[in-house]
């Protein structure tokens, strides 16, 4: 049996009728609030961020240095073997220049576009990166492979959050000195 247009149901409402209240609607704003236990791995990560350090965990079976740090290695399925401070520099794996915010609102005229990036952190295993923002550069100058360094909040303003790093800014350094 072919599905023909006249067989398919569904009543499309016009946006203007809807917004003008011509259709009966009921509003609700749920209060959905949480306090998630950080536990061991993320708890240590945040405490170290507050101290101005990016800390990873390592597994002596697969030899990965993992970011964010974790209490167990998800691949070897065993406890991780220790913490290791990594650098606050890294390489842009990928990025975007976003003209909309999280609620799909367009940014205002003259406002700087959001510039999120996946940054592979120096000292962590290859590919172990984090989501953060890029700053101190024209958004349209950002390139994949660009070297960046964290810009931190002042120590007294840090709260133990990923936002203790304000953003990452480009650095210029000779390629040879790149730390693996």
């Amino acid at each position: 049996m072919e599905l023909k247009k006249e067989m398919l149901r569904g009543t499309q409402l016009s946006e203007s009728d809807f917004r003008a209240g011509k259709v009966i609607t009921t509003d609700w704003k749920p209060e959905l609030h949480y306090a998630w236990d950080n536990g061991v791995g993320i708890g240590y990560y945040l405490a170290q961020l507050k101290a101005g350090k990016i800390t990873a965990s390592f597994c002596n079976k697969c030899n990965r240095i993992m970011l964010p740090p974790r209490a167990f290695c998800e691949l070897c399925f065993k406890p991780t073997d220790g913490w290791v401070d990594v650098l606050d520099t890294g390489t842009i794996n990928t990025f975007s220049v976003s003209l909309v915010d999280w609620a799909a609102r367009r940014i205002k005229k003259g406002e700087r576009p959001h510039t999120p990036a996946v940054i592979e952190i120096d000292g962590a295993s290859p590919g172990h990166g984090m989501l953060h923002l890029i700053g101190e550069i024209d958004p349209y100058e950002i390139k994949i492979g660009m070297r960046v360094k964290a810009v931190w909040k002042k120590p007294e303003e840090r709260t133990g959050s990923i936002t203790d790093i304000l953003y990452f800014k480009p650095i210029r350094e000779p390629k040879a000195s790149r730390k693996k």
């Binding site: 009921t26 949480y34 306090a35 998630w36 236990d37 536990g39 993320i42 998800e74 399925f77």
Partner: protein
């Protein structure tokens, strides 16, 4: 059931009112490591994974994203059932019966302590047009149901209070339970009113914990070192989800789920063939309702039998020796995990002080809490 499915391993982490020292990932990892050890397998031997989650309970828009790592399920076939843990068990069992996999791990988690607005969340499960504008709580729905159930069956408020007393006492002997207490029927009946006839002590308090269970096919279990428990039958059902068209005087979902499970298990006279039951008792009266759904007594007789000690740990048919949700805590969709793990421990004869003697067949009946009308019934046996 065709293609016998067995339980090869079980791991429990918790249950506690708070688990502030562990993230949700770490809590599940602990249960998983224990379960895999119990089954005598390594994580990479597991072919499929089923997790149990509801987004807003966990605090994510897509809770499924955050399930694989702590089970060793990275880059493996893994999916979520948004149901009770026993729904997940049923789903996993079907995969094994169909011959798709031989070893499957099934997970559930409660971090209820991390959800700061649980009453709001329950309200958010109700119909937005016809229920929510009246601002009633989940306890109002339970209060109406309890009131109707008692009216139709002749069971009493005192009998429902006996359930609370017994389950909290049972929990004192269960190292996994944290709401054990020595209280009296008067304590229950004099506790603060919540939604008449429901009082504070009638309501299970929330708790945290994780359960991981390893299921195996007949073929796989024969090469594992564990002593398997067999799933004899499993059934699930949903009554009308809306508050307007469901049955209020009995747990219809329980009857329907039980019928399927008993049919699969070949059980025709449950009170004679079953030696132990674990049922959802988020409210004291729910245990009576569920006992009747399971056919462990005639409709309307559960309360009186309860008072005679029939369902006590040393009675003829012990129910909720674990302490149930009233004693262990309300683990939400992980409740089925608490019920099932108790059955497994009892059927293995490893329940220590609270061990029920000569248990061969046990049954669990879970329910998804207000305002749901879904339940799952699982029949387990230790006879191969």
């Amino acid at each position: 059931m065709k293609n016998k499915v067995s339980i090869a391993g079980v791991g429990v982490s918790g249950f506690k009112a708070l688990t502030s020292d562990l993230s949700y990932r770490e809590l599940v990892f602990d249960a998983a490591v224990k379960a895999y050890l119990d089954a005598g397998i390594e994580h990479h031997e597991i072919e499929g994974f089923v997790t149990t989650a509801e987004d807003l309970q966990e605090g994510y828009s897509i809770a499924d994203e955050y399930t694989p790592d702590q089970l060793g399920a990275v880059l493996k076939p893994c999916y979520t059932v948004s149901g009770d843990f026993l729904h997940s068990i049923a789903s996993a069992a079907m995969m094994i019966q169909a011959g798709l996999f031989d070893i499957v791990a099934v997970e559930c988690l409660s971090k209820a302590s991390n959800m700061l607005t649980l009453p709001d969340l329950a309200a958010f499960a109700m119909d937005p047009t016809f229920n929510r504008p009246l601002n009633f709580s989940e306890h109002v729905v339970a209060g109406l149901e309890m009131s109707r159930f008692l009216f139709e069956t002749g069971n009493t408020v005192e009998q429902a209070a006996c359930v609370v007393v017994q389950n909290k006492a049972n929990a004192l002997l269960n190292p996994h339970a944290c709401f054990g207490a020595k209280i009296t029927v008067e304590d229950v009946l004099c506790s603060e009113p919540v939604s008449y006839p429901i009082r504070r002590l009638n309501v299970a308090q929330s708790a945290d914990g994780a359960v991981v269970i390893v299921l195996a096919s007949e073929k796989a279990v024969s090469r594992l070192s564990c002593k398997p428990i067999f799933i004899k039958g499993i059934g699930w059902s949903t009554d009308a989800p809306s508050l307007e068209s469901r049955e209020w005087g009995s747990a219809e979902y329980g009857y329907a789920a039980t019928q399927i499970a008993y049919k699969n298990a070949g059980i025709s006279c449950p009170a004679k063939e079953i030696q132990l039951a674990e049922v959802n008792d988020e409210y004291g009266y729910k245990e009576l309702m569920h006992i009747e759904s399971l056919g462990l007594c005639r409709r309307g007789e559960s309360g009186e039998l309860y008072q005679t000690g029939f369902f006590a740990p040393k009675g003829q048919l012990p129910v909720n020796v674990s302490g149930g949700m009233l004693g262990i805590g309300n683990l939400y969709d992980a409740n089925g995990g608490a019920l099932l793990s108790e059955l497994i421990i009892q059927l293995r004869g490893l329940a220590g002080q609270r061990q029920v003697q000569n248990v061969k067949t046990g049954v669990a009946l879970s329910w998804r809490g207000v305002p749901s009308s879904s339940g799952v019934c699982a029949v387990l046996t230790n006879e191969g």
